[in-house]
Assembly symmetry: C2
Homo-oligomer: 199 residues x 2
């Protein structure tokens, strides 16, 4: 016999399938939710459906968008000759938060990963190729994460874009601002040494 | 300008309002969800509505139930002279998991807490009074958490039940101080049941 009513168990299951949430954590979330108003719960459920139904992938940058073409791609105030390639929509958000970059984006929705069985066909590389092939870009900045899969993906894209007359760069990797050499891992220190600059 | 489409931002807000989930964590959950199938998302949303609409509070024990009277209260194989008073439905689940206790339950849905402005009227004490007043119980076991609010609530209930001919006991402090019934292991709960004392 299950301890909770069936619909409650099922909702716990739904939450427990989310990444980083165990069954006890899921139960805690569900009981918190059940302590809310009917209206609150209805809004949550409807928002979940809306987030899927009312968002598409921008036809240019592949980022999540309410419109066929997202506001970033539509913005004529941005530099349309600069293209920053990222793995996920949240990477766009992180870069936008620093208010430094004024070019466009391309969201891959994943990285090439032999260990997680993600091949180049599983991410939005075809769309990137078409876009860069269409011309108009002076520079493509590869902003995948500095880990094995991110490096593999960046290398793959750099090779893929070699036939085009476009500069391909990669984000600098080194010690994070405010970080300590003492606490940095070996790989970060190696990257920081490799990328050292004359002062 | 918000970085994500409005419905996605709204869904992140919904998740971020859950306890223990920050905005970054919420965004991670939402992007995971948006990577699932339409069907998966629809089921999650519908289950959320169902968990509210298809559950009531058992008319006797006040636990969440699909029926007017829950399976535990309906079960004639259990000891209907023993009543265990807990704060939350998840405490019932924790005690049931140790398969030691065969009596009934009463779920308060909270504890008396001056710091969190929870008065005796905010939890299901009236229902407990009516139930014990109705007779038939030989013993009431107070199984609130061994913390300030749990102790206050247990003491309040012990006093409230003094006019009745019923033995009132409290779980033994086999539970670590400051701990939660929900997270206790089966052995600790069994020790606490065995060592219960009259108050």
């Amino acid at each position: 016999m299950s301890i909770y009513p069936r619909p409650v168990e099922e909702l716990i299951d739904c939450f427990a399938r989310l990444p980083g949430i165990g069954r006890k954590g899921a139960a805690r979330l569900v009981f918190h939710l059940l302590g809310r108003s009917d209206e609150d719960i209805r809004v949550f459920a409807e928002t979940m459906i809306a987030a899927r139904e009312q968002t598409v992938f921008c036809r240019d940058c592949q980022n999540l968008s309410e419109l066929e073409r997202c506001p970033l791609c539509e913005n004529t105030g941005r530099d349309h000759t600069l293209l920053c390639v990222v793995a996920e929509p949240r990477d766009v958000a992180a870069i936008e938060r620093c208010r430094e970059y004024k070019g466009l984006y391309h969201v891959l929705h994943g990285v090439i990963s032999p260990t997680r069985q993600k091949s180049p066909d599983d991410i939005r590389l075809k769309e990137l190729l078409e876009r860069v092939g269409g011309g108009g870009f002076a520079e493509v900045i590869l902003a995948t994460n500095p880990d094995t899969d991110g490096d593999t993906t960046a290398l793959y894209i750099a090779r893929m874009l070699r036939p085009f007359e476009v500069k391909v760069t990669r984000l600098a990797y080194g010690l994070p601002m405010g970080g300590h050499v003492e606490h940095a891992d070996e790989l970060t220190i190696m990257r920081a040494l490799d990328g050292r600059r004359e002062v």
